[in-house]
């Protein structure tokens, strides 16, 4: 985050042209409050501090309740591998929500991509084509979403809801509602989950790579700055010369692209493609983004926060199963965390203004 950068030292210096100025303000809207904290603020930004504290608290609970199983590398690997699928989706979702939209179709698009990539026809071309197929299907679905929203002027909620239903239906039709196994010839794909480098399955590296690339794009490129600008005030962004429609379309394509990558991960982990994959992922991803401090109205938010939010969810699932507690309690706990997180955010927001 750029508050420690030189341009922040002279906030009143007018940027040379109008477009840069708006993009710049979009960024400032997000980092203004943190800038008061100086360099420390980067880590200590209040909302992230709360998330880190929650993670630490959950870790302590884990260490106290299951000391022998919790702090093992194997368990850490389990948590990270579990977080990978929704994690990748969450990165795309963060972009969309910062850009002022929402994508309800992520779980269904991932299911469709996994089914499309595991049809016998696709499988006959080998694992690389399967992976490319998954990514193309995801991106394609995202482009359709984006086109409907930006050029068809549909409300994001409706357009992506339609995609959710339709993609799930198409996935069911393609798979004839069966679970499609990854054929033994294409085991290279499953090895993403079984092969380990430095103790971590390859798919965790994919997850990490998506997070890092996502962070760089959002925080270090024009595309990222425009995303904040478009989400913060689309009219101002348009007047400043940003092609808001095209940008919005690209955001949904990016979200679809992430769904395609998530499909590769889920195929590797479960050895299958299925229309039942990714059920309610959209809610998990949106919840993680919101807990991470991103405003549903757009214009502000961070990827780091969203990933921390997601890790909290994954850690809760892990802790509940380690302690043999049932799923219903888990859902209650997750619901409470969403409420508490949002209340805390509002307090910290009010405190700042």
């Amino acid at each position: 985050m750029s508050e420690a950068q030189p341009k922040q030292t002279a906030p009143e210096a007018p940027p040379s042209d109008e477009r840069k100025r708006v993009e710049h303000q979009g960024r400032r809207a997000d980092t203004l409050s943190a800038s008061r904290w100086g360099a420390l603020g980067r880590l200590g930004e209040t909302r992230h501090l709360g998330l880190v504290a929650a993670l630490v608290l959950l870790t302590i609970i884990g260490l106290l309740t299951r000391p022998e199983n919790f702090a093992t590398t194997a368990n850490l690997v389990t948590i990270l591998a579990l977080a990978s699928t929704i994690g990748v989706i969450t990165v795309g979702m963060t972009f969309v929500i910062i850009g002022g939209g929402i994508d309800l179709s992520v779980g269904a698009v991932m299911a469709l991509a996994s089914v499309w990539a595991t049809t016998l026809a696709t499988q006959s071309y080998g694992p690389v084509v399967m992976a490319i197929c998954a990514v193309l299907v995801g991106t394609g679905a995202g482009l359709v979403n984006g086109f409907l929203i930006s050029y068809g002027r549909m409300v994001p909620f409706i357009a992506t809801l339609a995609m959710l239903v339709a993609a799930r239906g198409l996935a069911q039709r393609m798979s004839d509602r069966r679970t499609q196994l990854v054929q033994p010839d294409n085991n290279a794909l499953v090895e993403l989950s079984t092969t380990r480098v430095l103790g971590l399955p390859l798919l965790v590296y994919i997850f990490a790579a998506v997070v890092v690339v996502g962070w760089v794009i959002l925080n270090r490129t024009t595309f990222g700055r425009r995303t904040y600008a478009v989400g913060g005030n689309p009219e101002a962004a348009r007047l400043a010369g940003i092609n808001v429609r095209r940008h919005t379309m690209l955001l949904y394509a990016l979200s679809g692209f992430c769904c395609g990558i998530a499909a590769i991960i889920i195929m590797a982990r479960t050895t299958t493609g299925s229309s039942t994959h990714g059920d309610l992922y959209e809610l998990d991803a949106i919840a993680a983004v919101i807990i991470g401090g991103t405003l549903l109205t757009g214009g502000r938010g961070t990827i780091v926060g969203a990933i921390l939010g997601l890790l909290i969810f994954t850690l809760i699932t892990n802790l509940f199963i380690l302690n043999g507690l049932n799923t219903s309690d888990q859902l209650i706990a997750k619901g409470l965390i969403i409420v508490v997180a949002v209340l805390l955010q509002r307090r910290s927001l009010e405190a700042r203004t």
């Binding site: 199983n69 368990n75 591998a81 679970t179 196994l181 982990r269 299958t272 059920d279 380690l322 049932n326």
Partner: protein, 353 residues
């Protein structure tokens, strides 16, 4: 909706009728040469005159939508069996997972005045009323698997033995561990949807059977009958228990995900038993390369039996192997244990995931 039913029915029906036409063309009336999709030994179940064409009857059929291999097999078996009889007109309604829709689907069948109604409800309690209405209208209801609470709501119930399924799994695991002389074994159970009565009965049977060996379930956790939840729950459970002696997974469809998680974790110190009897699980057992050593059946062939019973009831016939003139009020199928030794004999009955 009737339009979509018509189209799908036409497509599906066309294929099966085509196959049926071939069969009847060369074998006259005797449907002994069943289409390959129907279990081979089904047609021999009722020798004597019962398979001879009789009075023309219309059989309505309603079941949940197939997002699961077992349910898909139910619909397929029902259809295939009905097509074997020249005196049966088979009227399936669009499958749905929505209670409301299933109620209206059944109502439409009542209005069509079918001669018998085969009904696999999404939820026995919630469809009880409409089944009762059918019975009151003089249409015998053949309740498939999920039972209606009110005996006035169905003429005959046919289904699997969930308690017995748990018992079979418990006996297999108990005997295996006893043979290995394990004391205080770690036994892990992965359930299906925990809120369903069938899941609770399975768990009860498992627990009771283990008790006869002096064993108990160390930990149990619920998944949702899907591959993805199987992976998620299993990967966490494996971390909770670094050393496991035996694992029972209620459902072979979600078992694909469970096995993927076990492979990912590189664990093989325990034996695993499946449930339902999918073709995939049987192939794993036959290959004998994974931890899956047995599965206990809950066979979707029950749908074939239900159609046969519906036909007999509508025609006013009894079962030729029994003394009574009418079909019994309830038929509970026994759960069988499939191991490497007898898998060959069960493979034709297995359903594809």
């Amino acid at each position: 909706m009737s339009e979509t039913v018509g189209r799908r029915g036409f497509l599906l029906g066309g294929a099966v009728v085509g196959a049926g036409a071939l069969v009847t063309a060369c074998t006259s009336n005797e449907p002994a040469a069943a289409p390959s999709s129907a279990p081979v030994n089904q047609t021999q179940a009722a020798p004597g005159g019962n398979d001879q064409p009789g009075q023309q009857v219309t059989i309505g059929f309603s079941a949940p939508a197939a997002d699961h291999g077992w349910i898909a097999a139910i619909a397929k078996n029902a259809e295939a069996t009905a097509k074997q009889y020249s005196d049966v007109r088979f009227v399936p309604v669009e499958p749905t997972n929505d209670i409301n829709q299933q109620i209206s689907a059944v109502e439409s069948l009542i209005q069509q005045k079918v001669n018998a109604l085969v009904l696999l409800p999404n939820d026995g309690e919630q469809l009880n009323q409409v089944a009762r209405r059918a019975m009151d209208a003089g249409i015998p209801v053949i309740n498939l698997d999920r039972v209606f609470p009110d005996k006035l709501s169905y003429r005959t119930w046919v289904g699997g033995d969930n308690y017995g399924l748990g018992v079979a799994a418990g006996h297999y695991i108990g005997n295996a561990l006893k043979a290995k002389n394990v004391s205080n074994p770690v036994i892990v159970e992965i359930q299906g949807i925990a809120t369903l009565p069938l899941t609770q009965e399975r768990s009860k049977g498992f627990e009771d059977a283990l008790k006869t060996f002096g064993f108990s379930v160390t930990a149990k956790q619920d998944a949702s009958f899907t591959v993805e939840t199987g992976t998620e729950v299993a990967s966490n459970l494996l971390q909770a228990h670094p050393k496991i002696d035996a694992m029972w997974n209620h459902d072979d469809d979600q078992g694909i995900g469970v096995l993927a998680a076990i492979n990912e974790a590189g664990r093989n110190e325990f034996i695993m038993v499946g449930g339902a009897g999918s073709a995939n699980a049987m192939r794993e057992i036959q290959g004998d390369t994974s931890v899956l050593k047995a599965t206990v059946t809950y066979s979707p062939t029950m749908a074939s039996s239900a159609i046969k019973l519906a036909r007999l009831i509508a025609q006013g016939k009894g079962m030729s192997d029994l003394v009574e003139n009418t079909v019994p009020q309830s038929i509970t199928l026994a759960s069988e244990t499939i191991t490497k030794e007898n898998v060959q004999q069960y493979l034709p009955l297995g359903f594809e995931s």
